[in-house]
Amino acid sequence: MADEPKAPPSGGPSEPPAKSPEAPEGAAPPAKPAGKPPAPAGKPPAPAPKPAVKPEPWSSPLLDELQKRFPEAISDPLIFRKQPSIVVAKESLLGVCEFLKSDRGGSYTLLTDETAVDYPKREKRFDVIYHLYSFQRNDRLRLKVLVGEGEKVPSVVGVWLTADWLEREVFDMFGVQYEGHPNLKRILLPDDWTGHPLRKDYDILRQDDAWVQANLNIKSGQ
């Protein structure tokens, strides 16, 4: 918690700012009993002593540089708990990544994590999320790419070697297709499994019954 702004611990969720939280990308999961309708209301700036309860706009020299180099490609720069995040257009993802990895772009040489989040009600249902780390700046950056069903994301394996397995896992769990990945196949589930379990429309009790019956000789794994 030490990289937080050292605000006095006064506000907690015990007194939530009345019913205002918006779902990050404005969609509620269908399976959630507590899902709330999106309420993209105006953003009142959080009072200074309280810890922020929602992301705020982010600005920094790096962002300016990025926006200069890739106009149109960068949107929604937000910062929350000192964690900046930007949304990158799919088409210029590779360029942005190459730039960020280079010395002038902050040398984000370590791809910490790559994952995805599913918002089935949105037009482009997947957020593919990259967490970058720069040893030089001791700083993390979150990239998001919005992808629709059936669209292909350029693979960043060429930029960060780590992405190989991480992208395979995203493909396995979400069915996000990557373009230019050397070996895009399932990693955690069996190769002939049907369905992508981490999608929101894949119920927790569901499984590939055909696969289970054929391979495990039992009626159901549940």
Binding site: A2, E4, A7, G11, P51, K54, R81, D113
Partner: protein, 370 residues
């Protein structure tokens, strides 16, 4: 990738695992061999996949906490700590110092326990049978402290979001210091058995070499990265809890081989002892819970929090939609990413080295597969 050497030689394809004594669980490695020389490896994982991330979406924040213990089951305390901190970060909760130091002591004990288990099994893989029993004996002492503190030995569920469920028991400070005094001579004994032993050095030096640049490109973290000479430890560079208030050093290696990673982990145990000693001194009576309500209901936002788990960077990416259930929890498992390096590290080595390299990566399949 090296080619087969003999005229018209057929590659020998061997399945190492999922039932194999040296693959630390249910890892299956498909080896392509030329004689005993490895031409390439392919890891086949997922035998232990339980869908932890899916489970998270169907539990409340509080209910999910016991499940994270079961990922890296030899370091349950750090797993739980990472998860609790991630949710606390999401909610903006600050912990009281007593809770912070307690967490640090237990996390460092867990780091020692994890490294001890690693050392024992790694030595066993390389053929030294005895260290595993010594290290398990020391680990037992740590588990006894855990059992006294929270009632469980392995999957501890020691912390709750916002603080600690249990205050320290009477005599905890004494137990912790006593353990520190007990452990240091034992570490010397392991070194006596292994560090200068010529067979051990032959088996580990120049095996599985990973340069610092490769290590970063492959995304490995933790002792594997530090063994390659990159002085990077999240406890130092982005301190959490009260790690910025204690003194310790980051041991690094130079050559990035299996021996260096062994030395790094041995030194890390010593540094952990230092941290425990300082933390015990600073334990003062006080509250053990930060300001959280009865119902954990973080604001709608997303946060990534990572800690230095014994195996590397353990990250939690929590997406909240403002309800009591997480919208998505992504675990960034250190073992999974480190295991990816196996292929590059093992090419051109012999079968026996594969075992040493799998051992030196310190993977736990519960975490790789989740």
């Amino acid at each position: 990738m090296p080619e087969a050497t003999y005229l018209d030689a057929n590659e020998l394809v061997i399945n190492m695992g999922p039932q194999h004594p040296a693959t630390h669980g249910v890892l299956r490695v498909k080896l392509r061999l030329d004689g005993e020389r490895v031409l390439g490896t392919e890891c086949i994982i997922g035998y232990l996949h339980r869908g932890v991330e899916k489970i998270a979406e169907n539990r409340t924040y509080v209910q999910f906490a016991p499940y994270v213990d079961r990922m890296d089951y030899v370091a349950a305390v750090t797993n739980g700590m990472g998860y609790c901190e991630a949710v606390e970060k999401l909610m903006g909760v600050e912990l009281p110092p007593r809770a912070q130091y307690t967490r640090m002591i237990l996390a460092e004990l867990q780091r020692i326990a994890s490294h001890l288990l690693w050392l024992g099994t790694h030595a066993l893989d390389i053929g030294a049978m005895t260290p595993v029993f010594y290290t398990f004996r020391e680990r037992e002492e740590i588990l006894k402290i855990f059992e006294n503190y929270c009632g469980a030995r392995l999957t501890t569920h020691a912390f709750r979001i916002g603080g600690l469920q249990y205050d320290l028991y009477d005599g905890f400070e004494k137990d912790a210091t006593k353990f520190c005094d007990y452990l240091l001579p034992k570490i010397d004994e392991y070194e006596e058995l292994l560090s200068t032993n010529r067979i051990w050095m032959n088996r580990t030096k120049k095996v599985g070499v990973l340069s610092g640049k490769d290590a970063i490109a492959l995304g490995v973290t933790g002792p594997v990265l530090r063994g390659s000479g990159v002085k990077w430890d999240i406890r130092k560079v982005q301190p959490y809890e009260a790690y910025d208030k204690v003194e310790f050093e980051i041991p690094t290696g130079q050559n990035g081989d299996t021996y260096d990673r062994y030395i790094v982990r041995i030194q890390e145990m010593r540094q952990s002892v230092r941290i425990i000693r300082q933390s015990v001194e600073r334990l003062a009576p006080g509250p053990i819970f930060g300001k959280v309500g009865k119902v954990i209901k973080p604001p709608a936002a997303e946060v990534y929090h990572s800690i230095e788990a014994p195996k590397g960077e353990l990250g939690y990416f929590v997406v909240s939609d403002g309800s009591t259930h997480p919208y998505r929890v992504r675990v960034r498992p250190p073992s999974f990413v480190n295991l990816e390096a196996l292929d590059i590290m093992s090419r051109g080595h012999l079968v026996a080295d594969i075992v040493a390299i799998i051992g030196t990566l310190d993977i736990v399949l519960g975490e790789v597969d989740r």
